[in-house]
Amino acid sequence: MQYYFVVIGATDNPLYETDIIPSSRSSSINDPNRDDHKHLNQFIVHAALDVVEEVQWNTQAMYLKSIDRFNEYFVSCFVTAGNVKFMLLHDQKSEDSIKNFFNEIYEQYIKVLMNPFYEKNSTITSTQFDSRVKMIARRFL
């Protein structure tokens, strides 16, 4: 199982998507049917947005922890001040490392936001952001 990380804009559109192969399980690269789950990942995360909208107003924290599950997958979420959501689909519960992961991603996301040429809620195409995210994922997941 690989992790699926997605940044979702305030208008529910995905800004950035990536599949993350956890460093601990690099052997799963050769998993033959991993492409079949691409749409499933999107479905799960998209459906979980309903739960996020319910949970986000009941807490002060940005990190909402694991908010939804589907079969053996968990969905963790982090809501930024601009109502941009970071969602991570994972199959192992490790709240602390995911929290750290989200916090680092938040910093990277703010750097993207500070770019005057980046329009809010538009797709993040920055390759630097991409590589940073992968690096952070390697570090924490």
């Binding site: 559109n13 749409h39 799960i44 459906a47």
Partner: protein, 1094 residues
Amino acid sequence: MPWYTSFKNLIFSLRGITEHETFDHPVAMLMVISSVNPDPMGAIMQLYNPNVPSFTIDKPYVDTNILRYYVLLHDPQQTTLEHSLDVFEKMKKSFGLHCHMLTLNSRPQTTFDGTDSLSTKNNTDQTDDSIRMIWQNELERKAVIDHSLQYYTQQLSNNEQDQPISFSPSIPSLTRSSSSSSIATNPSSSSSSTTPVFTGATTQTFDLTNTPLDQEEEEENTLNSNNNLINLDGNLATSSIEYGQYLTMDHIEKTKIMVKELVTQSMIPFMERNIQHWNEQVAAGRRGLTGRLFGASRRLFGTSNSRNPSSQSIQTIPSYSRNLPAGTNTLTIYPYGAPEAQMRKLADYAFMLRDYKFAQIIYDTVRRDYATDKAYKYHAGTQEMIGICFLMMNQPLTSKVDVDRNFELAIQQYLGRCQSPYHATRATVIYYELLKSRRMWKEIPTALVRMTGEDSDLRSALFLEQAAHCFLRAPRPMIRKYGFHLIMAGHRYAKASQRNHALRCYKLASLVLEDTQWSVAKSHVQFALGRQSFHLGHLEDAVSHFVHVLPDAKQTAPQQIAHIREFLFIYQQYASKMGIDPLKDTLSNLGIPIIDDKSIRVTLSNAQPESENQDEWSVMERDLLEANIEKGYILKSKKALALQQQDDNRVICAVGEPSTVRVELYNPLQVAVTLSEVILGCQYRESIQANKESLNSDLFADQGMIDGTLMPDTTDTFDFGDFELQKLAQVSLDPLERRVVNLTIVPRKEGSITIVGLHYTFNDLVHTFRPFNKKGKRLNNTKEERMTIAYAPDRSLDILVTPPMPLLDLTFHNVPETILSGEVVQAVLEINNKGNKGLTSLRLKSNHPSFICVGHPEQMDQPIYDCDSKDENCSPIDNQIYDPSVISIPLPSEGDQQNVVQPGKTTLVPLWIRGDRIGKYTLKLLFSYQSEEENSAIAHRTLRYTLHIQVTPSLKINAFTRPCISATNEFILGIEIENLQSLTPFDLRQLTATSALWTITPLSIDLNSEQDVLDKTTIPSRQTTFAYYKIKKSETLPSSPSPSSPEAWTSNALAKLLSNNDSYDPPPPIELMVTKIPFVKFFKRLLYNNLYCI
């Protein structure tokens, strides 16, 4: 939804005696005897024989201690009332209170003559329907079940001849007999689950034991018909058999009264007594700490063998039931006498009598015993019942989680340990219905999704769909969850090959995802929709769904290949079905390849490809137009026309002049695709005015492939009457390739041609037309425009076709990319007239006029700097102020025609480029020219040309003068020259002074000594030299100012200005004296100071 309701009803209607719950165990039995029977008491005694084991259901877990209820049938046609009453009295005496006498007709009323039969017939007809309706449904269903059962048993016996078949406990119960159906209509307190009194097994017992009682009872009728049906091998025509045709409404009422009496007077008291009894005997001892301790010690230390096996707790019996999981033929049960079984029965009775709280406590108590005994089915059953009790209690729930947990465990165990999916399904449906009645929508999906395992796709699909709808009903509708569950439901429906359901689910879900950008999810849904539509034969829908799927760039290459292949296949099917030619008729909205509308350009053959900074260009065009009008090149009357044309920003093309449409195609797929028969779609109109409204390109979206005749002398150009179009036979696009396609269009008539789109055939199979929808520039003039995103109509695809015109084509030769600051390079401008008319009045406007100097064609071979003559010479120069950015380019005279370039002719004009300022420069050269003949449609044509030039730093020169002490009218000029280049040394070749007054001679350089000159004029990199020169007034000049001198002209002009005299005479030309100091024999480079005088 009807399909779910019927599924639910089916689940609830299936029942049979199971070991772990007593709801389907008999509570009471009816013993029916007719008063005609010669020995009624004896027959009942025969029925009532507890020693005969087949008397009741022969299962160790079914309690034989049930209520017996005796019914005496009285048929007034056969016996007298007195006789029946007599028998009834006897029955009462011997059997106690549980007796009832029922009056029924079973024979035609023969006492009436045929004369009166008409009235009775009417009478019976009236009652017939209502009475028959009582049986109708049940009988039909029974017939269906019987039929399938018959079929099943036949099959089974064929397969397993040796295996004995035990019917009764395992088969879903046969229909309830007439009495029970009247209970169902009866508003008595018993729920329908309390009526398994009349299970088929009971009636079968009748059949087996009461063969002498072959009487006219309704039950017997039912049974007979049952037998008949079986004998008839499942003849389903049950409607032909009429039941109870001799009954009247009166009899029905009496039957109802009997049933009411049975329930209220006998059955409920019986159950209550039993509850009380068991509660005192069994349950009380088990409750509390001591009871549990006792139970534990009994289990630990008790010697099970010494006890009566019937009361011994857990047993394993062989069973051949069909409800058992395959491979097992034993059943773990508690015999009915065991305390655990009695507890369960107690709880079930309490539940039936609606004491849910008490039932729940008992269930909970006995659950622990089942858990310790590992009687999983019993355990699951009690878990389920505890949950139901909680939900049935008429009070708010204490803990939702507990209830959910109960059901979760029950379902897990039913599924896992017991492998009894039926019970799990039933528990889920019950749970779902209870939650629904409590409007707990948010809990439902969890419960339903639990039962969506792999074992039954159809059931999972049903439950997922229900779950999806519950998300919508939640207080805060969860639309995305709804969509997701619908998609899962659709997937399962598809697996269960319920295509219509699958299509419906996917369609609903696609509405949820419609406006989002979750592309992978979206295309998955579209793909599924396409496939289901195709399988259902909705080819058109399938095609349109596949069209959505195709351009999805995020799929993997193999998927994309599969999609394309499937799409082409479906489209072919569609085309052949609809009778359209896929190569001619258009499939609209095919998203491959992607064409960026903004990148579409129409250019004439002479234009440079790039065209940025439109605004700057148009300003230049306007300025040039003004200048041309001022100078008389263009008539003033044409100004408005020219301005209008410029505003329209249309491409102006003369008849017969090819222009090129540049379209950028992008293949978003990771699969190569081929486009064939690529041709533009164009529209001709007579008017030369620009289209006011933007063209509605949808109009053309459905037009088919266009046909033209091949031009005789070409291979790819087709004639369409008003214009000729180039057709590309094939364009193949590699994965993710971006390719520019140039298509030529040649107008044949004056007017306008609008380019509306592009025709092409995708992968040689699907013809499509892609309309162009180019927007003009963003409008920001008014407030409304600023507040919305408004675009001007675009006219760049609207070609204006004019009568034949000259067409200028330019080529620059010898233009360097980088020059040094101050360096002058000669370039050659090649002017080519590609048009059909002579070209004249060529004008040039540039944005950096100081960089460019255009010479006369005769000056082509002149060196850059004149270095032949060493002496001073004078040359007159025009002394007027003019705009240096607009100049006329002199064209060579040819024969009698002045300044005309004939069609197809080429001429060369010299051009000098000087590095005037340091930096990177884009020289924008705007040429305007006119036809030698008057052309009403157009004022002038323009051509834009861009040169890029980089000027690098070379020398830095500082100069100063100071008066000469030795002589008047002489000055010392000091020149400091610094080489800014880090590598290149410079040699000074010549110093030239140009002035009206002064001449120059060197002071510090000895021109005669070659070594000295070399030393002082060579500047190594990053070095500075310094030299002195003497300047003195030219002796040739007259000492007093002449009237033609600039000073005199200025004072005259000032005097005129003061006296308001508007007359203007141009300043006289000024005589400039050029003094040269050559340093080297062969000159290459020069720096000069230019002193301007006015």
